[in-house]
């Protein structure tokens, strides 16, 4: 992997610090004690085995959705459709989880595979439309989100046969849940999905940095014109990139369907996992390790936010402010860079004047 330059690291870290600072200011304005707020926030994130367990549990789907967004980013595409692909992956995993009765070593991989394939097919659509008809992927993938939302509801109602808003629980042979992990973390919902997610991050790195396909995908991502001149098929890469991105997204859904909930609920609104993936990819600078760390941070903030309600009576929405602020600071990384340059420049000038 390329060595990260100081600036590449500086921007995310500075953004996190500035984001927390914004959170502190908001707390002060709201009349809360930021010190107490942050103590209970951090305790809620990492302060106990339970907190760590819940943070990691919440991180698993975010790692996947972050990888999905990042993968497309790296190949020059913006997959906003991760949200819809998550839903499709979720419903596919739950369908297999409920309707089959197989030994675990077949059932669980089958359910994961189903999630991957279903979401990949879903992601294929915007990829194909872009490659074939030059329809912008942002538009199609957003629309596919809505189609996914209502399609999953229809599937839950009509195919899985939900009568009470929620499906039955999946068979244990398809479950990622682990009583051992739960006990270890005093009843968090930590499940094996976290390991699958870390494994996926390694696969992500491997595909992009080590395989010939990855070389090609990245080249197209950086400069599709030059890649086309060099003989690569840009269209094939667009479709492939979307399909692979969709697979990661589908697994994010499987984390919820086979891990956290073991079921799926009829929902009229999006899970947010896919959209959060955009923020995760952004903060993680589209690198494997960055995505994992960013996912853990965002997951931790969300979980810690719940503890903050109890520990400091600060509304959990505050962490949304912090997360949003971090994302804004990262996104305006150029601005931060500019300030850094300016400071450096001024310092130099000052020295010269002396």
């Amino acid at each position: 992997m390329k060595k990260l330059s100081l600036n590449q690291l500086l921007i995310p870290f500075l953004s996190i610090i500035l984001g927390l600072l914004v959170g502190a200011i908001v707390m002060l304005i709201g009349g809360y004690d930021p010190v107490q707020g942050f103590i209970s926030l951090f305790n809620g994130m990492f302060g106990s085995p339970y907190a760590i367990g819940e943070t990691l549990r919440a991180a698993a789907p975010l790692i996947f959705s972050g990888l999905a967004v990042a993968f497309a980013f790296r190949t020059g595409l913006f997959n906003i459709g991760v949200e819809g692909q998550v839903l499709i992956g979720w419903v596919a995993a739950v369908y297999v989880g409920i309707n089959f009765d197989l030994p675990m070593f077949i059932h669980l991989p089958l359910a994961l595979l189903a999630a991957m394939l279903a979401a990949a097919i879903w992601a294929f659509v915007p990829g194909f439309l872009k490659a074939k008809f030059y329809v912008h992927e942002v538009i199609t993938s957003i629309m596919m989100n809505y189609i996914a939302l209502y399609t999953t509801n229809a599937i839950l109602r009509n195919i899985i046969g939900v009568t009470n808003e929620r499906t039955d629980s999946i068979n244990e042979s398809a479950s990622l849940a682990s009583p051992w992990l739960q006990e270890l973390t005093t009843f968090s919902r930590l499940h094996w999905g976290v390991l699958v997610a870390v494994l996926a991050a390694i696969v992500y790195y491997y595909i992009l940095q080590r395989t010939t396909l990855g070389y090609e995908l990245r080249a197209v991502g950086f400069n599709k014109h030059a890649s086309q001149y060099a003989g690569m098929s840009v269209n094939r890469n667009i479709v492939l990139s979307f399909v692979i991105s969709g697979m990661f997204a589908g697994l994010a859904g499987a984390m919820e369907g086979l891990g956290t909930f073991g079921s799926m609920t009829l929902s009229a609104s999006f899970t947010g996992v896919g959209f959060d993936g955009i923020a995760v990819a952004l903060l993680g600078a589209n690198t494997a390790i960055g995505v994992v760390l960013a996912a853990i941070l965002f997951a931790g903030l969300n979980i810690g936010g719940l503890a903050m309600q109890l520990g400091a009576n600060v509304p959990s929405e505050l962490v949304k402010v912090i997360i949003a602020a971090i994302v804004i600071f990262v996104a305006s990384g150029y601005a931060i860079n500019y300030v850094i340059d300016k400071l450096k420049g001024n310092r130099k000038k000052g020295v010269e004047k002396k």
């Binding site: 809360y32 107490q36 808003e165 609104s269």
Partner: protein, 363 residues
């Protein structure tokens, strides 16, 4: 969000010191001590809390109602907010379990899960914390330390159905449900039965928004129903119902004579200023949370029991403001049916099958 903020700010204004177990862990010993002293001064260390579903504590519906019950209970017993009684907000379904667990860890004596979606989480956490007491609203959870609170929504819905059936001038009324489920079916079937009991010629337009939090969908469906001739709509759709009110108000402004029947709480105010609320089917979640809290504090926690609140217990009913728009004749009729239901002479149908059975008898 605003309301929530207000609640917390008002708590602050009341001069409470914010101090918590976690803060004490952080090394803030002084405050922890003083607050303990304060708590002791109240003469009670009973702690009760609830976890909202994703609707939040200001949903103008059963979360809010449940919190009102707890607030009243707290005030009546000199408990302080955040200390003696408290709510935790859930932004996502995934938050239910950690919220319940947190409260259990923090040794709250009684912990409510509001809404049937929390059933599995309550069950799980109740197993993990056998020494804590839990209660679930709108669902039955089978565990020795869980009290299941349910309502006979079909009875209250039957009564508003009677009002709708007698008040409609078009012989056409509508029902808008949130998400189709056994629970909302109780509202639907009770309502239909009430309408049919008094007005067998009426048609009832039933639609589900498949969403509890979409005002836009509520507006769209209501627009369709009013447009096709219904003049009264009963909604059991939470936040989606807000859109039903919006549509009704707009039509009323244009001179149309349309009405909404509210749900869960007395929604008279939601109908203002155009005044479109005909009546409301009141579901006294607040009574339930108050009652169960009181029993628990008195050492009579109904663990493992199913507590059903119906007309008889005044757990459901029609809103007090009903007399504003409903004539005394109709209210007398309602009272007639109420007596029959309470006495068991008549049973309001809860499921589709029961409704069909009911219809046979009507004919």
């Amino acid at each position: 969000m605003m309301n929530k903020k207000k609640t917390i700010l008002s708590a602050l204004a009341a001069g409470l010191t914010l101090s918590t177990v976690l803060a004490a862990c952080g090394g803030d010993d002084n405050e922890g001590g003083s607050s303990n002293g304060e708590g002791g001064g109240e003469g009670s260390d009973f702690k009760v809390a609830m976890v909202t579903d994703t609707g939040g504590v200001d949903d103008k519906s059963f979360n809010q109602s449940a919190w009102e019950g707890l607030t009243k209970f707290g005030e009546d017993n000199d408990l302080t907010e955040n200390e003696g009684f408290k709510y935790l907000q859930s932004a996502k379904q995934a938050d239910y379990q950690p919220n319940l667990q947190q409260l259990a860890r923090d040794n709250f004596n009684l912990i409510y899960g509001i809404g049937f979606l929390m059933a599995e989480d309550v069950k799980k956490v109740a197993d993990q914390f056998p020494d804590n007491n839990f209660a679930i609203v709108d669902m039955v959870v089978d565990a020795p330390n869980v009290a299941s609170i349910t309502f006979k929504e079909q009875e209250g819905s039957f009564l508003v159905g009677v009002i709708a059936g007698l008040s409609t001038t078009t012989d056409k009324v509508g029902f808008i449900g949130g998400v189709e489920s056994d629970l909302i079916k109780k509202f639907e079937n009770g309502f239909k039965a009430g309408v049919m009991a008094v007005n067998p010629d009426a048609t009832i337009d039933v639609k589900y928004a498949e969403d509890f939090n979409s005002a836009e969908k509520g507006t769209a469906i209501a627009s369709g129903m009013y447009g096709s001739g219904s003049d009264i709509i009963y909604h059991a759709a939470g936040g989606t119902g807000v859109g039903v009110f919006t549509e009704a108000k707009n039509r009323k402004k244009n001179g149309e004579d349309v009405w909404v029947i509210g749900v869960d709480r007395d929604q008279y105010e939601e109908g203002l200023p155009e005044d479109v609320t005909l009546t409301s089917m009141v579901k006294r979640v607040d009574t339930a949370t108050y009652e169960v809290s009181k029993q628990t504090m008195d050492g009579e926690f109904p663990g493992g029991e199913i507590i059903e609140f119906g007309l008889k217990d005044e757990g459901v009913g029609i809103a007090e403001t009903s007399d504003k728009h409903v004539s005394q004749d109709i209210l007398d009729k309602v009272e007639e049916y109420r007596t029959q239901l309470v006495d068991g002479e008549l049973t309001a149908p809860a499921t589709d099958a029961e409704f069909e059975e009911f219809m046979k008898n009507v004919k």
